[in-house]
Amino acid sequence: MIDDSLLMPALQGVHLSRSFGQGEMKTTVLHDVSIELYSGQITLLMGPSGSGKSTLLAILSGLLRPDGGKVMALGNDLWALSDQERERFRLRHCGFIFQGYNLFNALTARQQLEMVVRWGEGASARDARRRADDILGLLGLSKKAHLRPAELSGGEKQRVAIGRALIKDPNFCFADEPTSALDWSSGQQVIELLRSAAHDRGATVLVVAHDARIIEHVDRVVDMEDGRLRQHEERETFLHNAVARQQSV
């Protein structure tokens, strides 16, 4: 018996469009884009700079309002919600990882995580600490919980940032260029952690990146160019086609 919910997209963008600027300066960065993302899957959104990847991620995650189209997330029309309702939706369901680690210099790795659940959910100090330590343990940072960002390597800092996104146990995890500031070894670890968030925790993970080495670690690849989805393939198909394209050149 197959669970029907697994066949339904957890996140769905329908006919999304978005422009910036006005008049002659108006630039359309998304043209009628539709996309479906499923829970338990890690999807890579690829494409050259300026192709609209980050804009699409921002719209799908409730950070940037589209000019047209809608985003359905867990049965909610995300952009039909009020600002406060959307904020609550993000609080309850979304985790974010950005290229810069954006960690508070003064706080320890543990405090960076605790802060999210204490401020977001009103968790008690004890509960927040337990949950932060659990996540840091999963990320292999148990021995570094007391350290501040200045005492951590780039990879460790990004792992703390992932911990901050995962401590809420979110349904969605959005990562914008999470590996671009890291060496490949650290980048690989980061992607594996995101992959495990999808596979082990059932999260819907969307990663925006332009590093082709990540392809091997994801379930699906979506290719973007000039504000349009060019490809929408399972990883194996994408790899096959990429090799074919390379051979034909």
Binding site: L57, A58, L91, F96, N102, A106, V116, R118, A161, D176
Partner: protein
Amino acid sequence: MASYSLTTLFHERQRYVPGVLAVAFSALLIALQCGLLLGLFSITSIPIDHTKADVWMGAPAVLSVDLGRPIPESTLARMGVQPEVERCEIYLQGFAFWSKPEGGSELCMVIGSRLSPDSLGKIDKLTAEQCGMLAEEGTVIIDESDVKRLGVKGVGSTAEISGHPVRVVSLTRGLPSLAGPYVLCSIPTAKKRLPVQQGQTTTYVLGKCRNPQDAPTVVQRLNSYKDVSAFTTGDFSRRTQLHWLLKTKAGIALGYAAALGLLVGAVVTSQTLYAATVASMREYAVLRALGIPRWRIAWMVVSQSFWIGIIGIALALPAAFGLAWTLNRTMGVAMVSLPWWLQSAAAAVTLVMALLSGLYALRSLRQIEPAMLLR
């Protein structure tokens, strides 16, 4: 919440030092300016605060102790018949010209009182021996800080007050003056040298109650007479200080200086918090993306302003004490007075200033948008 604020303040202390120092500067300035004002104007009420009377009765609507006008000596009986009053006596005080031996004159404040040990009007700094010396007509005692101002060499010097000779027989210590040096003497000596006090008149009638708590009742009864006005010691002291405060406008000048200190403190604190928030904007933007409400971040900023206020005050008050102590010791008199209520008020005003600065710094939060994190 407090722990994140304090942790941030501690680890990024270099960033917050200007704010803390600005708050400390404001608190110090307010405490010292007000303390100085208080100390300065407490000088004007020395004749009230350093004597034993519970009730002062003088001319109608008298504004301050040094501005007393003559009232008939017969009013002494009105005080004497009050059942709560144990004893009463006359007291003379007024401005007169002191002619210096070497020429020139100086306005002085002549105080003539009974000199017996139980006297109500005798300044408590006078010893029994000094009181004995003043029994001789024409003898006076001045404060050692006024010797130069009155143009004399010290004990044994002679001068004139209102054309009548006086001889300095002793000196007091710690009896500062504001408008004119205090010249302490007996009632006969004062009467002869205060031109307005000729005939059967006095400046004040002082009363001592069996129970000091009855003073307001006595005052109320005496005030039913239209040709006198009466006050309890505390009321007359405050009235005198307030009159000087308003008359000289010194309060306004010091008030402006304190307000300026507050303004500087507020601007620096606000800018410090604004800059600190802007510097952490990307971190706050992540929290906003994660759905943390804006008010939580605002609370963090206001909480930081609270702790900046507390730390600034904690630095300022001991410094104010130290400076006041040094000044008072150097001058030999209590120039600066820092009672507990003044410290509390200075701390409260400064803390409110710090909190308002924090609220003003919240405008930086408007710039925080999660979408700014996407490239």
